[in-house]
């Protein structure tokens, strides 16, 4: 399969005995102001993990780091600020071109 020669993080699976991953067009998004690459059709959480980001937010009381846990929009572990909107479940939020994603500290402010 022809593939762009741009450098991909090792987290992306390129060969698999059963599955193929036809990725959509490449997108640029911003995590804490830093540009990162992802693909159309994946979630923000998936793109972040592919870029090596594990900590998505810090908890309200003890400032504990939080990442994703269920990845299917049930557990609320992955709440982040997306284009200024807090409490967004990034594990089910589709990645969009230019979207700005930030770590949420405690509860979100509206």
């Amino acid at each position: 399969m022809p593939r762009k020669t741009c450098k991909q993080p090792a987290a992306r699976i390129t060969s698999h005995p059963i599955l193929q991953f036809p990725r959509g067009p490449e997108l640029t998004f911003y995590f804490e102001g830093q540009p990162m690459k992802g693909f159309w059709g994946e979630t923000i959480a998936a793109a972040l993990v592919a870029n090596g980001v594990k900590v998505f937010r810090h908890s309200e009381r003890h400032k504990r780091p939080r990442g994703f846990f269920c990845a299917v929009g049930k557990c609320s572990s992955c709440l982040m600020i997306v284009d200024g909107r807090p409490n967004t479940m990034v594990c089910v939020e589709p990645l969009r071109e230019g979207v700005r994603v930030e770590r949420q500290q405690g509860r979100g402010k509206l």
């Binding site: 090792a10 987290a11 998936a46 594990k54």
Partner: protein
Amino acid sequence: MATPGLSKTQIAIVGGGPAGLCAGIVAARLGARVTLIDDNPRLGGQLIKQTHKFFGSKSHYCGTRGIDIAAILEKELLATGAEVVLNTTVIGHFQPKTLGLASPGQFFKLAYDRLIVATGATENNILFENNDLPGVYGAGAVQTLMNVYGIRPGQRVLMVGSGNIGLIVSYQLIQAGIDVAAVVEALPKIGGYHVHAAKLRRLGVPILTSHTIKSALGREYVTGAVICRVDRNFKPIAGTEKKLQVDVICLAVGLTPLVELLSQIGCYLVYIPELGGLIAWHDENLATSVPGVYVAGDVSGIEEASTAMLEGRIAGAHAFLSLGGQSSEAARIIHEAKKELASIRQGPFGQKAARGKKILPSLAKFSSKGQGVCLASEKQT
């Protein structure tokens, strides 16, 4: 604000996994107007990440991969002309017989005659030090990341739990090029099918029975794990701790039914450990205590996709019959599915759920409106 739009359907189904899809296919084929709602952008529920071939019942996709079953069921449902509403969450239940639905940017209502709740289950966590660190992931979450999106969650994984999910996901991790350091199991024997365990053993993955996880290591995310032996009462044995270098701790320690909607509707809930905890009481046709409301699949008790599909068929056919339709075909579907369910539940991995389901008739203590009642004989004096 404008009044939200109201639409109507005969049979509303919440959840487009194996149970909801089968309920929809059966009910729509029999002639009911069906509306199926799912919060995901695609149908299939958790089948869309299950790359393993199914075992079990002769007529139900034995030897087919979960991902392919999802595609088959989706095609069958769409062919019936049933209405499918994706990217939409049921956020509330209103009287009479109305669901409140939210999709991005809008709220609307759906009135129904019969409701089938097939919301599935959510993954359990267990207690250990640092169990909240990023890198501690549900087994299903890891499956979603690697099998749906093609992304490795990490380099080296400790799997906690040797039930079928723990064993299957461990094997899938290896297929995705990820190292599995070990599988730990608190019980003195492996929980899942021998054939899955044997595949892992052939690949050199240790399956450590009578072992548990004691703590996750790391400050911002997982950098390791401490495991130890446990005694017969599952108490850690001091001095047996072992440190493993892993960056992912994968939890395959059971599921909890997602009963929130059923609870809000007022269905009588009962606690049955064999079925995963709190579930809506239901009869053998999957009807709950509230007239016209059905359950199917994991939300009615944790089992597996094959049983979820059969329960969906029963609920779909019975909901159709309860609308007043006469159909020998519906009766036949119910009869066949019940027979197959009984046969699966006789197997070694069905017996626990079978015990749980058997308790249900004795717990039928509710009013004609479906609310739980305290029987006079049980009142404290």
